[in-house]
Structures are given as structure tokens and as C-alpha cells.
Symmetry: C2
Subunit: 197 residues, 2 copies
DNA sequence: CGCCACATACCGACCGGTTAGTCTGTCCAC
DNA sequence: GTGGACAGACTAACCGGTCGGTATGTGGCG
């Protein structure tokens, strides 16, 4: 029997990544020791360093997974065949839902960015900027068509919205009164109302 | 001659706190060693532990300073003699300016909260809730008077705005094109426009 | 004025504990 | 029997915090 699945059904690398994600979100990157991760995943350090080059690689994996997912979803919504205000609303609401559904990833993302080495950080920032710019383009499109106000620079509007998305991991609780979809609707509403020409 | 000022003009405790604030903001709490702090402040560990009980106390000092300041300012703006939309706008803009002017404090605040011990964390959260509720009351006042839309729960609006404030430490750069006041005007505008009845 | 008693401010060697990462060895599948 | 998939003991570098000691200042007293 291949050791890669051990007692559990999921292969070791995935299990390590999932465990690390949970622990990083709960305790923070620096407060989580490699020993803790491997124990929780039911393996030893040998296994971890067999699949990952370093503890930091584990963190970077979380980042690239999140970024890839969000970028794909944004591309889909932004490129849809609908009026720009509809496309922006859908994209804005979707990123809220996706963030809430992966709250662990989100809190790691915003809290532990500065733990990455300069090169990896640069890489992440670059990908993030691409995402940012895609979103901004959507707003600018609406401004040019006259359906969105031009009172506020598009850049700032993007940061305004992503600020609230970023903040979700601080206050949103799954057992609270609002479902992810409801929160998403409200936040998208606020954005669209702020943008009314 | 009193040693408290050593070669430098500022007294040792303040110097230690200022140095720690800068380093915590630059590298994060866990990544900053006590040794590093005392070296940068030009003293030794003996001095630090003479004035502070622990490394954590240093962090808590930052928190209580920020919270006290913001609460005072909010109280002043919220209790002013002006229409509610004016008071909200002023308060919303002021917290942006104050945050930008103390960006180090702000990034520590949001990034290192979970590094505080449970008791201290609870204390900080309680103070933060008071602040949150004061702000919410302002919005509810406007909603009751019919000048603000009731489409979005006041709670969520508060989190929406503070999300963007929180996010400032991620993207705002002093050498960017916008002054703190300009950013504050824009963000307050966005909030007020989103709230138009 | 001079001297002693004490407090304050700080130094820096040191301690127990923890950490990320390494390395050698074992075991099983093919 | 060869190579991938791990196990787990080990290391070297730190870490926060402590502690005995010292230099300087201050107030009381004769």
C-alpha cells in the first residue's frame, strides 16, 4: 500500500496543506511550528520536507491557490454578456461569497503577507495587482459609459470595496445572523449605491 | 546626570515604545526580537525590562494609545452641534486622516491583534466594540431621521467603512498622489453616497 | 558642608526552552 | 535491488526573560 494516503483517504501533500492552512489561520504563521503541523496531519517532518522545500513554501501555496481561484472567477464575471453595472455587481458579490467560504485563506492572506520573503512577496503582489486592475477596468468602463459617478477615482473605489472584503475575516462569523449571500448582496448594494451617477 | 535621556533627548521609555512601534510595523510582532528593539533604541534588555513587564506590554501600549485617541476624536465629532449627516461625514473623514497619520499604529493594530494574550485581547475587543457602537449609533440616528437609507443594517455599514480604513495600511503610501485629507474626503463621500436615502 | 542610606536607572552574562531544517536509516513496491 | 516515501534523532541558532551587579542621584542628619 502506498504511504501517500496512510490511514486517511487524502494524500499526504494535500493533507499537510489543509492542516497548515487551518493552523496558520487559527494561530498565525509564526506561532505555528512545523512540528505542530506534522503532528496534526499525522506524519513527521520527513514527510513535510519531502514534499515542500520549506515552511514558507507551504504559505506560498495558500497564496497562489487563493489568487488563482479569485482571478478565474473575476474573469468569468467581468467577461460576461451583460450591462456593466450588472457585471460589476455580480463580481463584487461573488468575491464576498468566495471570501467567506474560504475565510481561513482570507485571514492568512491579509495577515501573513509580510511573512513571505521579498521575492515571493513581489510575485504575490504582482498577481494581486493584475486582479486589482481587472476590477478597476470594470469600474472605469462604467464611468466612461456614464452609468457610474466619476467623483471618485476608480482606483480608490477598488480599494474601498476590497477593504470591506479584507475586513470580513475580522468580523464575519458563520453562526451570525447573515448568510454569505446576504452579506454579499448588501456589500454589493453599498458599492453600487456609492457609484450611482 | 539622569540616565533617562542618555545621549538622545527623549526619555528611554518613550524611545523604546517608538522604536518598538516602528519595528513591529515593519517586521511584525513575532519577527521583532527584544534584542533588536533595545539595540535600535540604544539601550539594553535591562532597561526595557525595567520599564515594561514583558514584550507583550509594549504591544498593548500601542493598542491603548490608538484606542484612546480614536475614541476621543469620535466622541468630539459625534457630539458636535450639527446635522447628523455632517457629523457622520466629519467623523468618517477624521478617522481616515488619523489612521493615515499613524499608519504604523494602524498596521500593528489590525495585523497583531491575535498576538495578545486572551485577557488583553478581550480588553481591546471590548474597547473596540464601544467605538464601533458609538459609530453605529450615529448611523442609526440618521436612519431614524430618514436622511440615511435603511436598506443596509447599520452594523454592516460600520464594518463596510472600517474595512476601508483598516485596508489603508495595505495600500496607502505617503508619497502617492493623494494627501490624507483627499483620501478622507473621497472615502467619506463614498460612505455618504452609499447611505443616501 | 560632608557623609551615609537608599532609590532609581541601567548593564550584560546567562538560562531553559523552542525553532526550522538536516541527515541517516528503514521499509515497501515494483 | 533500486528508488521513492517516509521516520525520527539531531543540530545550531535564537528567543524572551532573569538576575546580580554598578553607576549616579537624592534626601536626611550631624
Amino acid at each position: 500500500m502506498a504511504r501517500t494516503t496512510d490511514g486517511n483517504g487524502t494524500p499526504v501533500p494535500q493533507r499537510l496543506l489543509a492542516t497548515a492552512t487551518r493552523l496558520f489561520a487559527e494561530q498565525g504563521y509564526d506561532r505555528t511550528s512545523v512540528q505542530e503541523i506534522v503532528e496534526a496531519a499525522g506524519v513527521t517532518k520527513g514527510a513535510l520536507y519531502h514534499y515542500f522545500g520549506s515552511k514558507e513554501d507551504l504559505l506560498q501555496e495558500v497564496y497562489s491557490r487563493v489568487l488563482r481561484l479569485q482571478q478565474e472567477r473575476l474573469d468569468a464575471f467581468a467577461g460576461a454578456d451583460a450591462p456593466v453595472e450588472q457585471r460589476l455587481r455580480d463580481a463584487a458579490a461573488d468575491v464576498v461569497v468566495t471570501t467567506i467560504e474560504n475565510l481561513d485563506d482570507a485571514s492568512i492572506f491579509f495577515r501573513s503577507m509580510h511573512h513571505l520573503s521579498p521575492e515571493k512577496n513581489k510575485q504575490v503582489r504582482a498577481e494581486r495587482r493584475r486582479y486589482h486592475e481587472r476590477f478597476r477596468a470594470l469600474i472605469e468602463e462604467g464611468q466612461e459609459q456614464g452609468v457610474f459617478s466619476t467623483a471618485t477615482p476608480a482606483d480608490l473605489v477598488v480599494d474601498y470595496h476590497f477593504g470591506s472584503v479584507h475586513h470580513l475575516s475580522t468580523w464575519y462569523r458563520p453562526d451570525g445572523p447573515l448568510s454569505p449571500q446576504q452579506v454579499a448582496e448588501h456589500l454589493a448594494d453599498l458599492l453600487l449605491r456609492a457609484l450611482r451617477a
